[in-house]
Symmetry: C2
């Protein structure tokens, strides 16, 4: 009998899941759309049906011990999703409680970036590290800070909202209601907005003038930057400068051994990472210079948040025993 | 026999110390200048002589169990002072080791703001809080972040350098070698510099035009601001805006229950605190609005760092026993 936990990573667009053993092996995995479900109960019914139908196809004997969930604006303390601007379900959603009715095992929940941090520590590049930070660069920017071998949740479970560090307080409007938050610059969406701004301000010729906002992507822009396109290069440089500066601030506060960068935009290539590292070293408190690595997540091809959500569930089980 | 630890708070100008019992009562206290001692060994000889001579005057029977030290750029992991820009002793100073030869008990060391955080938690306003931040506003700005009931030291012991968060990367030169660090704006020195800048830029009449940089102080400026002086008021507003913004960033990352503000500039009055709170609420991630307090340290009239250094020593002793 293989003991296993179910890891679920709920994103704004897609939800991924996997049944994971204690060594991080996936016994089963799958995904489904998130955004087409306006009602959370309906979403959970479809999700549970999809998952249990895949359970039937697993050859090995297994036992489901617990469920772990990573979700934007997830509150670890309450098991709730709280005012998530990028999900359809508004207000406070008692997701852990709702999910428990479907699987009848303990359900534990945290925000998606925190889940990715746990995944990185248990199965990825942060193994053996007590102090590190994960940054997820996708549609938005998420953060998970591990310090003294524990996630920083803060007094209310909301810590790690690094996408909402202030960059330009009078700057771009953010989904959170403020202006000029980090994720309006350093994310796939932010990079695209920077391209539009540069196209407006400059006259350089570039194939980007033939693109719509919707057809643009982090990958298109970084590929053009690598080939020397002036607007794409300037957009990457602008993004890297802001990201490097803010990582330097996070480092001054928490002095991590390393930053791990995950998510779609990180996958797009090395040019953003290299440039971010240069600015980071320029803006970091000098006694920390050259001591903190900025690396790609080691779980880029796997799903760090699914593995992390599963590891969170394993961790919760071992606490329940002790 | 009263068991006690010695708390020492080494500052750029003065060094304070106290012999403290487990309840935080001071059996003895004193202070001496720091800055006139160019050689650290000479400084420690005078300090030890001063302290032991005061031991003789204590009526009660006491036993010294350990020494705790708070010092700028103190590294908890190594017991060293590392490249402190505001002290005479350059490079890496093995202070804990040197001090042990004088007292023959365990010596433990951390940076001054971390010591103040421990003091606030054990004896001050943060009793029972697992997640809070202390900010010391003096000549510079120091930070201590408590999360999950533990100080954030980071991988190398250097975390909490909140004075070196980036405000304007091309801004005022900082002692650390960078430009535009938070402490060049939000500190007694920063406030004085802001007054000079405003005197240069504006034509308002103000008694501040008769002041030298050296005669200015946080107290002089805040008193003038309270009485409606336009330059002093503008300087306080500018300082509060930057401080409020950066506290909002620290909150987004660590979501503390409260910020405690300590140090000479905090003592100067409520006007800076009130204005900082207003800007903080404006710049905070909206789901955190109205949930995080900004308070004066409860140990303003005592010495939070001396009490904290002593509490650090008590904590170390209890770890050694367990």
């Amino acid at each position: 009998m293989i003991q296993s936990t179910l890891g679920i990573d709920i994103g704004g667009t897609h939800t991924k899941y996997g049944l994971v053993d204690k060594q991080g092996n996936l016994l089963m995995e799958g995904n489904m759309p998130t955004s087409e479900h306006e009602d959370v109960n309906e979403f959970l019914r479809v999700l549970s049906r999809n998952i249990t139908s895949k359970f039937d196809a697993i050859d090995e004997d297994f036992e489901l011990k617990a469920v772990g969930v990573g979700v934007p604006n997830g509150n670890f303390y309450n098991g709730t999703i709280e005012h998530a601007p990028n999900l359809n379900w508004k207000g406070i959603v008692p997701l852990a409680e709702l999910l428990k009715t479907h699987f009848n095992v303990p359900v534990v929940l945290t925000n998606d970036a925190n889940a990715a941090a746990i995944g990185e520590q248990v199965f990825g590049g942060a193994q053996g590290m007590d102090d590190f930070v994960i940054i997820t660069l996708g549609t938005g920017l998420g953060g998970g800070i591990m310090s003294n071998d524990k996630l920083i949740y803060g007094h209310d479970g909301l810590a790690g909202e690094l996408g909402h560090l202030n960059v330009y307080p009078e700057g771009r409007p953010c989904n959170c209601g403020k202006n000029g938050c980090l994720e309006t610059y350093a994310s796939a969406t932010g990079l695209k907005k920077t391209v539009l701004e540069l196209l407006e301000q400059r006259t350089d010729e570039t194939p980007l003038r033939g693109s719509t906002f919707e057809s643009l992507s982090g990958k298109v822009i970084t590929d053009l930057a690598v080939s020397g396109d002036p607007i794409a290069s300037a957009a990457i440089d602008y993004t890297a400068k802001i990201l490097g500066l803010k990582l330097a601030d996070i480092a001054a506060a928490t002095s991590p051994k390393a930053f791990f960068i995950a998510g779609g935009l990180a996958k797009a290539g090395n040019i953003l990472m290299d440039s971010t590292r240069d600015y980071f070293e320029q803006y970091i408190y000098p006694p920390m210079q050259g001591k903190i690595e900025i690396k790609l997540s080691h779980l880029m091809d796997k799903n760090a948040a699914v593995l992390g959500a599963s590891a969170l569930a394993w961790g919760q089980l071992s606490k329940a025993i002790n």
